[in-house]
Amino acid sequence: MFERLAASSLFVAVLLAAAGPAEPARRPKYGGTLRVEIGAVVSSLDPAAVGTAEESAATAGIDSLLYERRNPEGTYAGVVGSGPFRVVQFEPGRRVVVAANDNFPGGRPYVDSVEIQMGRPPHDRLVDLELDRADIAEIPPEEVRRALERGMRVSVGLTDELVAIVFVPGRPFAEDARAREALSRSIDRPAIVNFILQKEGEPAGGVLPQWSSGTAFLYLTAVNVAAARRLWSEISGSRKIVLGYDAGDSLEQSIAERIAVDVREAGGAVAVGATKPGLLANEDARFVRLRMTSPQPRDALERYLRSLGPILGANADPVQGATPQQIYDTERAIVSTYRIVPLVWLPEAYGVSMRVRDWKTPAPGQGWPFADVWLGDAP
């Protein structure tokens, strides 16, 4: 897994280097409008507004442009206008335009403005990049291979978003440890990465990625049909586990359907159904997406514990200490409950036009680095 990560990073570095200018261009230029397209929809610029995980991530991205101060838990706060940009136009759910803050203490951004189009479907984003109608566009991990095949300049970051299943407290299956373990052991995670994600991601057995904790290799990710079959046979009754996925998330849907097949092959039964928060009343388990707000394993684990505390129940002890041994012991205790079933790690990926310089895919916990990029001449 680690070698694959290193190889992937090297590949991206080579890719970006190959696309760079032939002449030295170290000193940035000022001016221009950076055109950005994202899939999420932000309907309010109020930092306190609550939305889906995708919307929260996009809100944090926009907030990172507007506020100077970042809170430890990953949100941004402070005085509006203290950040490198200020809002000049906001059409809820559609578009936000920010202009460079000439008085930003960290220095005026290189670009004059950034125009962010929201709610753009993945296909449209790729087309706009190809037709030079966008400079930077989010690319879903499962679309990275296709973008590369189309000759796009693609920047793939570290795997920093965990896709997992959590059991809904109070539901019968949530209180049946054998059912939880049976589900986990039935899932062929490498197959999800290879076929659904087109190899852009990593199977997840724990809740922290290998590059951060260094101990993810201790968790098994391969399917264990024999163990799963034995566990399913011990579970009385024939009721299906109802697994809910976000109705607007095609990746969750694909993974859910794949899991239903895996579980059936192992002798169990899962019924999948689209849901929106609070709408599917009978779901036993549902998907969660957890994005790391820090590359440090202890900080990331603390954040997970805070957001998953009610689901993990009595086992959600805070991380005791910060040594790798203590972090591993806490993580192991969480995973061993099977109340959370890690599935895959996803990277952040962006398509970047040739005229964008000094682009660096944001690391976990970092905001969008639009203040640091500048626009050169397209080759």
């Binding site: 680690f2 760079g20 030295p24 951060s212 260094g214 101990t215 790798p324 041994q325 640091d372």
Partner: protein, 356 residues
């Protein structure tokens, strides 16, 4: 590591090397950081599987350690366990299986040991701090790097003037909006004084800076984009800043020289050194500021039409070089690196010497 204020670089792990317990079995050497933690692993094994237990020891590596380093670590561990009267055997039957994986995360290297006896498994983890990269042997122009100072905030330039007899060393750090004066005491560099540079206009995102102490501390000048601060740098209170034109700024002159003589470089500077009859310049790579960088020596052709020639091994750095200047002393230059891993700005001094 977070620094609330500028601090002297933490004392790095000593790079002295420790021999394995039995010298005649050594094929390589590993640092004290490793031997300390391997010894701790041995201590723990003694407590769990009292010698003379038979142990099946397997070592694997998923870190970026080289094969030679892994071999040296494994040999040291085997020798240490042998000296503790463990009987190391391959395969069954054994009292315990010990699978050691050399891994790494954001906190450094890890020794992860999976200890198995029957169906029981226990995992013990020992962190190992990553050492500084040792210098490579050089041919041609040899470069010796010295890290002087690091801090979270941007360093535009810095100066390390020769101290007067009997006086403490002074480090002057030119930042965006400040000239900081540090004095060396036994604890390291301590902030002694500072001069605020008023923002006469909003600061640029990539401001340039240059500290000129060539006419002595008493006639120092700190230049920033559009601002110049002059005065007696022995008495910071007497320094006065004013608006100036950017025409003739040192970075413009440097850029002009680079574009004529070392077009392939990012930044470049002549360093008053001649090797084999050729002038020596130092230059950085030409990648952008998201990439690691290097400083490399170049022999500048003495004849017309003769191009520059890279000489010696480059100094590999952990981030882009944001400033590179000669110090005025032959073969000595200073540069600033933004370390991509720590996020800190690092002030370095590099000495170039003519190699064999």
């Amino acid at each position: 590591m977070a620094f609330a204020h500028g601090t002297y670089p933490p004392r790095t792990q000593a790079l002295s090397f420790a021999s394995p317990p039995s010298a005649n079995q050594a094929t390589g050497t590993i640092s004290l950081a490793w031997t300390d933690e391997l010894r701790a692993l041995g201590d723990q094994l003694v407590g769990i599987f009292p010698p003379p237990a038979t142990v099946d020891l397997q070592v694997s590596n998923i870190s970026l350690l080289s094969a030679n380093e892994v071999a040296a670590i494994e040999e040291w561990l085997r020798t240490d366990l042998g000296s503790r009267r463990f009987r190391l055997v391959d395969g069954e039957p054994v009292d315990a299986q010990v699978h050691v994986t050399l891994s790494e995360g954001t906190q450094g290297y890890l020794i992860v040991a999976q200890l198995r006896r029957g169906a029981d498994e226990q995992v013990v983890i020992f962190p190992v701090e990553k050492p500084a990269t040792p210098a490579k042997p050089v041919g041609g122009v040899a470069l010796t790097d010295e890290l002087i100072w690091q801090q979270p905030g941007n360093i535009l330039d810095f100066g390390l003037p020769q101290p007067e007899a009997g006086e403490a060393s002074t480090l002057i750090v030119l930042e965006v909006g400040r000239i900081a004066f540090y004095v060396r005491d036994p604890e390291g560099w301590q902030l002694h004084d500072s001069v605020t540079i008023p923002p006469m206009r909003p600061w640029l995102r990539a401001p340039r800076g240059y500290l000129d102490l060539s006419r002595g501390m008493e006639n120092g000048t700190a230049m920033l984009s559009g601002v110049e601060c002059k005065g007696d740098f022995r008495h910071p209170g007497a320094i006065v800043c004013s608006f100036v034109s950017q025409e003739g700024a040192p970075w413009a002159t440097q850029e002009e020289w680079r574009s004529k003589n070392l077009r392939s470089a990012g930044d470049a500077a002549l360093i008053s050194l001649v090797c084999n009859g050729r002038e020596i310049a130092l230059a950085t790579g030409s990648g952008d500021w998201t990439q690691t960088d290097f400083v490399e020596g170049y022999e500048i052709g003495a004849l017309k039409g003769q191009g520059p020639m890279a000489s010696g091994n480059p100094l590999e750095l952990g981030g882009p070089v944001t400033a590179l200047w000669p110090t005025g002393t032959s073969g000595l230059a200073r540069f600033v690196v933004r370390n991509l891993q720590s996020g800190n700005y690092e002030a370095h001094r590099v000495r170039a010497t003519c190699g064999q």
